[in-house]
Subunit: 332 residues, 2 copies
DNA sequence: GTGAAAGCGCTAACAA
DNA sequence: TTGTTAGCGCTTTCAC
């Protein structure tokens, strides 16, 4: 038998409204009766039913988080930032994996609406029109974390990927490389295609180097793919002497490819990464990398969401966090 | 204006009970009226309010997951297994980080009870008495995933850590090592202390080697800690020639320590790990490791939980999954 | 096969 | 300062 607010009221000889008041910290309760109620609550081990509360108040203090893959270190870090800020603001999180499948993303949004979440943080490498339509008709605020909405309609938090990629490639250019490869994750990812790739392009153009499509390889964003990419590129004519890797795993795969070919990083081949997860220090040489502040992106997204949920005034609906390059030893 | 079951009923000229029946797939509805209702639902874009449903039915189809740190690759993998099976059974997941702090764990349980979750999957390196007491008085089933309950009262899924550690150390013994170090994560972790350590102990004893406490180093379970541990042990008298690492990060730190000291793995020093995450293949040499089936532990835990939630008969309340050693190149 | 009506446990006016 | 009373949107008997 679960005990309800009504039981407490009866035991304490007050109305349920009064119990509700003390439970919700409403100041309009005489200290004496507050104490009386609190005592009964403790004695009966009363615990408010948040579902009932949610139905009555139309607020569930839970937010939905839609993530491509929580076992991916990249997204796990983002999610941790989200969760930390969520708990700071007393929200709980319903976390679901979408595996980047649009149908699942759509269905997950639907599920979260049904569960009456107070808001949603959404992550994906590509936001389709259908998704955007659904989001714009959302009953609750949604913010995009580390994900790009081409229309710019949705609140979002990111870094300037284009500029960051530009700088990364420039860092390589600085060492006089003429043949710089871009080993990217999937180019169906908006960030990879429309921002990082164009940053790469721009840096080359500015250095007067013609883009060679043979030097841009699209693959999964994994260690094996990096390894494979190097082995594919090492034997082409005029092979690249430097690599811009889409993420740390790719970079490590690349480096091991180089080393297994009897070459040295950074003396024979230089590699710059784009992520700076804790993996970056777990290779020899350690990775020089653009630092993507994943945790912060998650945290700021959630903070932004709380502002929407509280109907606070929003200064920046599209926030761009700063980035930098962390110098280590994969680039001279 | 959100539209409710009542709106649908009115538009379809039926009672809300009938709408409820079609929404819930109750067969006692004439096909014609079912169709009529379905049409109205589609036209009005009606979406059932799961909170109201939860209040009325006393089931929320959501389960709580308490995890030490979701940004830790180890737990993230476990959580992914949990989530996959949860969605397979149409549950959603409320995920919260405890950072292994008992007060947070306690409070998180309380929160989840309040949210009326239908069940809980709990992970922690140490389950205190207070926690156990609270769990035994839980209104909903709880299963422990990859975590040990000394009393054996709670349902749980694990591997035989003791035996696995025993085998790992034996693998090293097989190569005639006499000085084998155990670089563990925190020994306040029940698994590390009561199972892996004793497995190590037993293997040594059986080989007639006396336990040397200088060779067991307790640290964080991180890359840096592994690196540091090697540097601490390399210069002691009769330094270890083989290492049993508590997890992959530790193992990689150890290996880089060895290499930075100008030594070779596995020729000068051998290292065996205990985890086999994807990191295991991202070092040179690749790690020989006990494979801890994290994803499966998560998946099986969740499956077990569904059985409890459905009040199915439970065959094994304490499930032990099989393990094995994956041979790669950090051990000869 | 369908409807009426009583809750589920709480919040939030509104009165007193 | 406290109590009364409607709901919140749905499920679930129980009749018909």
């Amino acid at each position: 038998m679960t005990i309800t607010i009504y039981d407490v009221a009866r035991e304490a000889n007050v109305s349920m409204a009064t119990v509700s008041r003390v439970v919700n910290g409403n100041p309009n309760v005489k200290p004496a009766t507050r104490k009386k109620v609190l005592d009964v609550i403790k004695r009966l081990e009363y615990r408010p039913n948040e579902v009932a509360r949610g139905l009555a108040s139309k607020k569930t203090t839970t937010v939905g988080v839609i993530i491509p893959d929580m076992s991916n270190i990249f997204y796990a870090e983002l999610a941790r930032g989200i969760e930390d800020i969520a708990t700071m603001y007393r929200y709980n999180i319903i976390l679901s994996n979408s595996d980047q499948r649009e149908d699942k993303e759509l269905q997950l949004l639907e599920t979260m609406f049904g569960k009456q979440v107070d808001g949603i943080v959404f992550m994906s490498e590509h936001v389709s029109i259908d998704l955007l339509n659904m989001m714009e008709r959302s009953p609750v605020p949604i913010v995009l974390a580390g994900t790009i909405d081409a229309t710019g309609h949705m609140p979002s938090v990111n870094i300037d990927y284009h500029q960051a990629a530009f700088e990364a490639v420039n860092r390589l250019l600085q060492n006089n490389h003429k043949r710089i490869a871009y080993v990217s994750g999937s180019l169906s990812s908006t960030i990879n295609r429309a921002f990082k790739f164009t940053g790469y392009e721009k840096a080359l153009a500015q250095a007067g180097i013609e883009l060679d499509n043979d030097l841009v390889v699209e693959s999964e964003a994994t260690y094996d793919a990096g390894y494979t990419a190097f082995n594919k590129l090492k034997s082409i004519n005029d092979a690249p002497t430097a690599y811009f890797a889409g993420n740390d795993e790719l970079a490590i795969g690349l480096i091991h490819g180089v080393q297994d070919a009897g070459l040295n990083v950074p003396n024979d081949v230089e590699v710059i990464s784009f992520e700076n997860s804790k993996l970056a220090r777990m290779v020899r040489p350690e990775l020089t990398s653009v630092v993507l502040p994943l945790y912060d992106i998650g945290a700021v997204s959630m903070r932004l969401l709380t502002k929407y949920m509280n109907k606070e005034k929003i200064e920046e609906k599209t926030v761009i966090l700063p980035h930098r390059i962390c110098e280590r030893n994969s680039v001279k």
